[in-house]
């Protein structure tokens, strides 16, 4: 496994996971100190899914994301400063302060948007994939979504459409066990969401979403299948979110023991360990990445805080093209 990976790619995956983790930890702090407006949904614990999949994509491949979209956006290569500025609702944000956390998007890197509506990005990814094939540009699309989205109608409509049109798209379900407070087994008829792929005549694969290399390898096959005209894949990453569904939530629906148990499988220190032991990456190299990420986030916060607010009437220019 992972023989095809050179050290640069490995380190880049580590850096991206760490960036997402630290970015969200910083957001959490900024929210608690009430410097930052709005609400947010954190993906702490799920970083390996976004990073393992996106490491297989090129800049002009498309992704659609969810309300829990910071990780996908950063993994796809969006500029950290501009993402942070958007969290602050600043004019210097990726979306000029008009979208915020829940609508973060960066079209310059193919990130078509986080989404406040569960599962809405699924048919959009199918459509983007259709455009890629029609325009013969060799690109593909990936839809990220959660276990809750698998019970929305557009999940089924979108997968069916993608399958009958044999579109170059990968559907990535990050099954973090809970749709807000509801355990997926209480509301989902199957143990494995990947099993639903059979209904749409596409491969369905399950992978340990806490293992970035496993995600990388599994996604690599699905991405290659899409790019080579083999049609869509449903990839289910078994994962967990450490934080609540959104801000200021009482964790009434799960135990602290459960959270701690999953934290034992944390993808980031586990990967750092493997980098040292299996891939002979030096301790210094790892530390250097950690310092770089810290610095990048500090700079992003400074950039965001220093940026101007939008003018009160700025919204008007964005309603219509």
């Amino acid at each position: 496994m992972a023989q095809n990976l050179n050290e640069d790619t490995l380190l880049e995956m580590y850096e991206k996971m760490l960036l997402i983790r630290k970015f969200e930890e910083k957001l959490y702090f900024l929210f608690l100190t009430r410097v930052m407006p709005g609400s947010m949904h954190q993906c702490n614990g799920q970083e390996a899914c976004a990073v393992g999949v996106c490491a297989n994509l090129v800049k002009n491949d498309y992704i659609t994301s969810t309300h829990r979209g910071h990780g996908h956006c950063l993994a796809k290569g969006a500029d950290v400063k501009a993402v942070m500025a958007e969290m602050f609702g600043k004019k210097t944000g990726l979306c000029k302060g008009m979208g915020g956390s829940m609508h973060i998007a960066d079209f310059s890197v193919g990130m078509l948007g986080a989404n406040g509506i569960v599962a809405a990005g699924i048919p959009q990814a199918a459509g983007a994939a259709w455009a890629c094939r029609y325009l013969k540009n060799d690109h593909i699309a990936v839809a990220f979504f959660g276990d809750g989205a698998a019970n929305e109608g557009v999940f089924h409509e979108g997968l069916n459409l993608a399958a009958v049109w044999k579109l170059p798209v990968v559907f990535v379900c990050e099954n973090n066990l809970y749709g807000l407070s509801t355990h997926y087994r209480k509301v989902t008829a199957v143990e494995n969401i990947a099993a639903r792929a059979a209904a749409y005549n596409m491969p369905g694969t399950i992978v340990d979403g806490m293992d970035v290399l496993a995600v990388y390898e599994t996604a690599r096959e699905a991405v290659a299948r899409a790019r080579n005209g083999g049609g869509p894949t449903l990839l289910e990453c078994k994962t967990y979110r450490y934080m609540g569904h959104s801000r200021f939530e009482k964790p009434s629906y799960r135990t602290q023991e459960e959270v701690e148990e999953w934290k034992q499988k944390d993808p980031i220190p586990a990967f750092a360990g493997r980098l040292k032991e299996e891939f002979m990456v030096s301790k210094e190299a790892i530390t250097a990445i950690e310092r770089k990420v810290d610095e990048e986030i500090e700079n992003a916060v400074k950039y965001a805080e220093a940026g101007p607010d939008p003018e009160p009437d700025d919204y008007k220019q964005y309603i219509y093209a």
Binding site: Y62, M98, G99, I117, A120, Q124, G127, A131, Y318, A321
Partner: protein
């Protein structure tokens, strides 16, 4: 050949735009070999092939969702939703996605998407008879078009396809000029009136937000849309013999709405009747009445009258349907009341 029916006019518009721009693609239920429920896409599968004229599953949310994704990734999709009532199944993709993406993303992108769909009551009961245009007027980010003639239909559809925003393009079933397969009702130019102007074969684009005076007059302004334009023409002809001179303004696009032309007409006549086939409450007519009250109240010599569908689902029995859909006699009665 000039297009004497709206079906032909729409087909010409689609053909011309597809020839001009390879990014224009069509998708919808039964638009290929079946030619579309109202035959608008007849011949287009043969002319442009399956890559560009795509039959879809009966999955309205995925149809519009895929069209949104394709628009974001460089295409200019034209969706056909078989009956406008079925757009309800795709409301999230229309109203939360297509309409809002541009603003949410801070103008990084636009969503060049047209959704064509038939409106109007033709004996098909409550779920195939509505006129839902007002719903979409209530969602900023969308444009809303409702033509009443072949000439307008062609020029406006071409503009819609060129527009970089999501456009809801509504077509009245009784004005298509073609019978749907198995359908009993058909209309033709001959059964309508002189304002049902054919579309010339040459290329032209009609701007959005510019109303058309379908008839000039000095006593009463009628603002009417779609099929109601023609019923209003009939009413005007009848009342002409009584010496009542009626002006008919057809907004053609409801978003953007040509307020100026409406106000100018009301300033001239002092009386306003609004005729629309959507339901009364919070409808097209409510909005136009509110705008006139805001901007031209002191020009009015009489209360503003709305002639719309009462607040009811459309009933099936023909005599009940006839009762709730605005008819010529309803329009005449409203005009008499503002003249009295």
């Amino acid at each position: 050949m000039e297009a004497k029916t709206i079906v032909q006019a729409l087909r010409q518009a689609l053909t011309e735009e597809m020839k001009k721009d390879e990014r224009v693609v069509l998708l919808g239920e039964d638009i290929g070999i079946f030619n579309g429920a109202y035959r608008v896409t007849e011949g287009l599968l043969d002319a442009f092939g399956e890559d560009r004229v795509r039959d879809t599953p009966i999955s309205e949310a995925a149809i519009v969702g895929a069209a949104v994704g394709a628009a974001l990734a460089g295409l200019r999709p034209v969706v056909e939703i078989q009956f406008n009532d079925f757009i309800t199944c795709a409301m999230d993709q229309v109203c939360n996605q297509a309409a809002k993406i541009r603003l949410m993303m801070g103008g990084q992108v636009s969503v060049p998407l047209v959704i064509r769909s038939p409106v109007g009551a033709t004996g098909r009961a409550a779920q195939h008879s509505q006129s839902l245009e007002a719903w979409f007027m209530h969602t900023p980010g969308l444009k809303v078009v409702l033509p009443s003639t072949p000439y307008d239909a062609k020029g406006l559809l071409k503009t819609a396809i060129r527009d970089d925003n999501p456009v809801l393009f509504f077509e009245h079933k009784l004005l298509y000029g073609a019978t749907s397969p198995g359908g009993k009702l058909s209309t033709s130019a001959a059964e309508l009136d002189e304002v049902f102007e054919p579309a010339p074969e040459k290329e032209y684009y009609l701007p959005f937000g510019v109303a058309d005076l379908k008839r000039e007059g000095k006593d009463v302004t009628i603002v009417a849309t779609g099929c109601m334009v023609h019923k209003s023409i009939k009413a005007a002809k009848i009342l002409k013999s009584e010496g009542i001179d009626i002006e008919i303004v057809d907004p053609r696009t409801l978003v953007p709405l040509d307020i100026e032309t409406i106000i100018n007409s009301v300033e001239k006549t002092g009386r306003l009747v609004i005729v629309s086939e959507d339901v009364t409450t919070c409808g097209v007519a409510s909005e136009i009445a509110a705008v006139v009250a805001d901007k031209a109240l002191f020009c009015l010599d009489a209360p503003v009258k709305r002639v719309c569908v009462p607040d009811t689902p459309i009933p099936f029995a023909p005599n009940n349907e006839n009762r709730v859909i605005p008819q010529v006699e309803h329009i005449i009665s409203a005009i008499r009341s503002v003249m009295s």
